[in-house]
């Protein structure tokens, strides 16, 4: 018997299990080192070797001392080998800033008997795991609209803490089903994890707004397998989670083709909205293991950079 239910508030709140799940997931992947496209303007240190001399930790090259430079920069050990003066140059390393947004609206707190986790759980685990990976890779990660970008080793705990605070703050109003639409600075990336069951036009507007300053982004759409396949039969009464609207279907199976078509159209419009602003789009089903989604996300983070680099 197929069953589906909406999690209660206490079940869907951010909890230690999310941190543990995220850390376990992140540990299974190699360090994600997102490549950065624009290096020059960023002044922040990071582990992205810029392939040129600059401030950083790693040795880049020795070059002959040019007159007029600060004497302090002379590498005396190297200079002692012959009769010229050398300066040790380090590779210029800079950190990336990545903002995360995980949808925690009521529609996310949905779990069917075919799924492994509720959508909200999966979004949190995925988001926090990404954050951990990025920070271990030297990036700075923040929650969109909640925290600034930070690069702490305990990033998962920090973000989870922020989420819990947000949870409490939102307890009366409920989580919004869309991030705040402030434009993000250039050269930041944003990862949006949600089921994107919103009007595609509104989504497109928001995305345009976010990307207006040149920020790049990735959309991860979380879907419950039930939402994909619509396996209902017989006399069924459907309840809309967000609005509370009821829909009674005499024979639910009769609606399946319509639903599948409309869902595909909706997806397409979301994908278009993302493509319009240069964001990537990926679909992740909660019956699949979260690692696949994380791997794909990592790939796209790197690819995004590469695309930018080529461009």
């Amino acid at each position: 018997m197929l069953t589906a239910r909406v999690l209660t508030r206490s079940e869907s709140a951010t909890a230690p299990r999310h941190q543990e799940g995220a850390l376990a997931l992140a540990r299974r992947l190699p360090s994600l080192v997102a490549s950065a496209k624009e290096l020059a303007a960023s002044v922040m240190h990071g582990v992205h070797g810029r392939r040129r001399a600059g401030t950083g930790e790693n040795f880049w090259q020795f070059r002959p001392f040019t007159f007029g430079e600060s004497v302090q920069r002379i590498d005396w050990r190297r200079s002692a080998r012959d009769d010229r003066l050398y300066v040790r140059e380090r590779e210029w390393e800079a950190a990336h800033t990545i903002f995360l947004w995980m949808d925690l609206s009521p529609s996310m707190a949905f779990l069917s008997s075919m799924a492994r986790q509720s959508k909200a759980d999966r979004a949190l685990v995925l988001g926090l795991a990404t954050a951990d990976l990025l920070v271990r890779g030297g990036e700075r990660v923040g929650l969109l609209g909640m925290t600034r970008a930070i690069a702490a080793r305990n990033i998962v705990e920090r973000l989870a803490e922020a989420l819990v605070v947000e949870d409490l703050r939102m307890s009366s109003a409920g989580h919004p089903d869309f991030p705040s639409d402030e434009p993000l600075p250039q050269r930041t990336q944003v990862i949006l994890i949600s089921d994107f069951l919103v009007a595609p036009d509104a989504l497109a507007t928001r995305l345009r707004c976010i990307a207006s300053n040149g920020a790049r982004g990735h959309l991860v759409m979380i879907a419950d397998p039930v939402e994909e396949t619509f396996p209902f039969e017989g006399h069924t009464e459907f309840l809309d989670v967000d609005s509370g609207a009821l829909f009674r279907a005499g024979r639910a199976e009769a609606y399946r083709p319509d639903y599948v078509a409309r869902l595909a159209r909706h997806r397409e419009r979301v994908r278009n909205a993302a493509r319009e602003v240069g964001f990537s789009f990926a679909l992740h089903r909660t019956d699949a293991p979260p690692a696949t989604a994380l791997l794909a996300l990592r790939g796209r983070l790197e690819a995004n950079v590469d695309i930018g680099a080529v461009a």
Binding site: D224, F238, D240, Y255, H266
Partner: protein, 937 residues
Amino acid sequence: MSFLPLAFSAPLALIGLALLPVIYYLLRITPPRPRQIPFPPLKLILDIEPKDETPARTPWWLLALRLAIAALIVLAMAGPIWNPQHGGADGKEPLLVLLDDSWAAAPTWEQRLKVALAQVDDAARQGAPTAVVTASEGAREAVLSDASHTAQKLRALKPVPFLPDRMNLVAPIEHFFTEHPRGHLTWISDGLASGQTRPFAEKLAELAKNGEVEIVNGERSPLALAGAANEASVLNVNVLRATNDGPQQGRVRALDLKGVQIGDAPFAFGNATETQARFDLPIELRNDIARLEIAGERSAGAVTLLDERWKRRRVGIVSGATADVAQPLLAPSYYLQRALQPFADVREARPGIADPIGALLDDNVNVMVLADVGVVAGLAHDRLQSFIEDGGALVRFAGTRLAGSSDDLVPVALRRGGRTLGGSLSWDTPKKLAPFDRTSPFFGLAVPDEVTVSRQVLAEPEAGLPARTWAALADGTPLVTAERQGKGMLVLFHVTADTTWSNLPLSGLFVDMLRKILAISADTGKTDEDATSAAKQQAATLAPLSTLDGFGALGPPPSTAKPIPANFTDVAGADHPPGFYGPPDALVAVNPLALDAKLQAADFSGLNFRREPLNAGEPIDLRPWLIAAVIALLIVDALASLFLSGGVPLRRQRRAAIAGLVALFAFGTATMPSFVVPARAEERAQQISPRDLESALTTRLAYVVTGDAQADEASRAGLTSLTRALAARTSLTPGDPVGVDPARDELVFYPLIYWPVVAGKPLPPQNAINKIATFMKQGGTIIFDTRDALASRPGGPMTPEARWLRDLLAGVDVPELEPVPHDHVITKTFYLLDGFIGRTTIGQTWIEALPPEPSDGTPRPARAGDSVSPIVITSNDLAAAWAADRNGEPLYPLVPGGTRQRELAIRGGINLAIYTLTGNYKSDVVHVRDLLDRLGH
């Protein structure tokens, strides 16, 4: 009549079954409530036009379930009855129910009534008038009336405790058939031949030539008791039945007059219709039996009442010596009484009465014993003579008086003087008894060696003497001789009934011989005795006292019961129902069956009657069962609906739902009438604390926890060291002392409770004070220690402790107190003490005042009351003086101090403990010398 034993009381309701197709149609188009599913992407299809709203069909099994419910409800409304009683009548012809109401019908009375009621109901349904006549009603006219009236009459009927004669019924039945030649008659017969069954049946067949007669006959023969006989060692009673079927065995119970069961005996019929139950009981018990009944058989016939005629013999003792009264324990009558008492009702003439023999004969004794009565003369002699002639037994014992002169009431001629064996002028040694002759009634009794005879009276040797000799000495001289006279007999013991001539009265043989004589006298005199008493009370009649009803229960006699003549030997009838008649101290039993009665089955062979068995199957109303099934199915349906609408999606909830279902089902079945089990009386779990258990098993000292830590610690330490001292010095080894709270703890386990008075503490609650009072009343002792010896002065103001104690004891019944006198037993129970000292020595110790010293006697070393003093009040702080640590080092300084004072305090404690445990025993011990002196004199 259908092939199933099933009928409906309201068959019209079955039309409701026709509604089932409608219900089927309605159910089909009314599906269960849809299940609700939350679905986040619902927005996507919210605007779709509804298509194909035709709901899913109701699942077929749900449909079947609901149809079954509907069908069951209709069936229940139709009032189905399993095993219905079929009436005999059909058509409009009147029905006459002839109900045998003898005691034989009583065991199955309910069933018979049911059959009769069913017949009447059946007739009423067909509009036929009904009437009922019973066998005991006799010639009363049968009045036809409607069913409710007849049923009312039927329900009021009770079986009668005798077997009525059915020929009386011929007249009303003849009348009935004259008026309604085609009428129906149902005879619910008791199945016995008695009461002229066969002639009546033949007459009935003749009367009902055109009518129809149905005989309903019980399959199981009733059981009856008759002919109880209290024989020498057993009480026998005949158990009867008419036919060989029915229970093969059972038990007969014997009850006394108050209804207490004395014993029971099994019986088994085997293949016979008659058997015996034997009560092998001591005669004392058998004599108390007033009623025998067959266990489990509810009828008057299964009861036999026993009266005086079945009781033990009454023995009168007359002693010839007047001076015997001076030393009653050495008198012959004493030996006789002790020997006869266990199995006979011994009467003795009041001392000083002018004519003791006549008085005893007036008392209706069965056996008269004359101990050393020389000559009976005058009127007494004549009466004795006729007493023997009428079947009485006279037992005489020899003695100096009889040896001197005797009358003719002896079995053999006696020589004057008798002989003395082993005396100073005789060469002979005391003689022993010879074994009993085979013809002697004593044959079989063992002759003990130690019985010797030193003096006896001698019989004149004459013809027939050996025949009359029941016991002889080793040299052949008769010791017991007997002779039958008339219906009675004369027995003479040639020795005295006391020990002056022989030690026979001391032996068990004496008792056995007397018992044998009584048994023989009972055999000889029974019927004749009745005759004499009957002759004496010719005109007297006995009123009924309590009579049996048809079910065999004793109750007040009905108004129709008439008194019986005193010599009534008939069986019970309508005028004389079975029961007890006469005054309560001389009851006469009238039994439903004659002594030699037999039961015979009724014979209906060759008669053109319809035969119906008394239906063994009880009609069962199926309605409650159907309704219970409906309820159960409704619960199943509710759960199924819940399940279909997705209301029980999760396993945990499902489990709860199943548990609920089970509970509901259990409730449903429990409320069904057949399943009502009387609620088991809630067993009150006795909460016994381990400490109470321990205290009950081990004697231990106790102290009252006052709440003052210092005082409590002193009490505990003091009692601990006292316990050690007791274990070391006395044979008493108490357990560890324990602190008790009188308000909470059970005090009954502690012989001695030490209570240090702490003035500052509040008084214990009233229930605690009550418990203290009870404890003191039950023999416990409380030592109140005010510990204020240093603070109080004689004549000074009352110390706070004393005031507290006075307030406490205000609600307690305290005996009068006095300072411990020097000769009180408490000062001598283990050590010889002057007083009780503790931490201080100057305090006074008070104890329950002793009764005043007897003025006459010599001064005694110790006195004691009847019991242990419930209260001892001291002010010397005993516990502090006893208290010592683990190594025996004292814990508290003493005033004035010293090892001696501590030792005396411990000794005082030991005396107190031993006093409470031994009571006044020591006062006897200190008197041992006096007692021995007195015994020596």
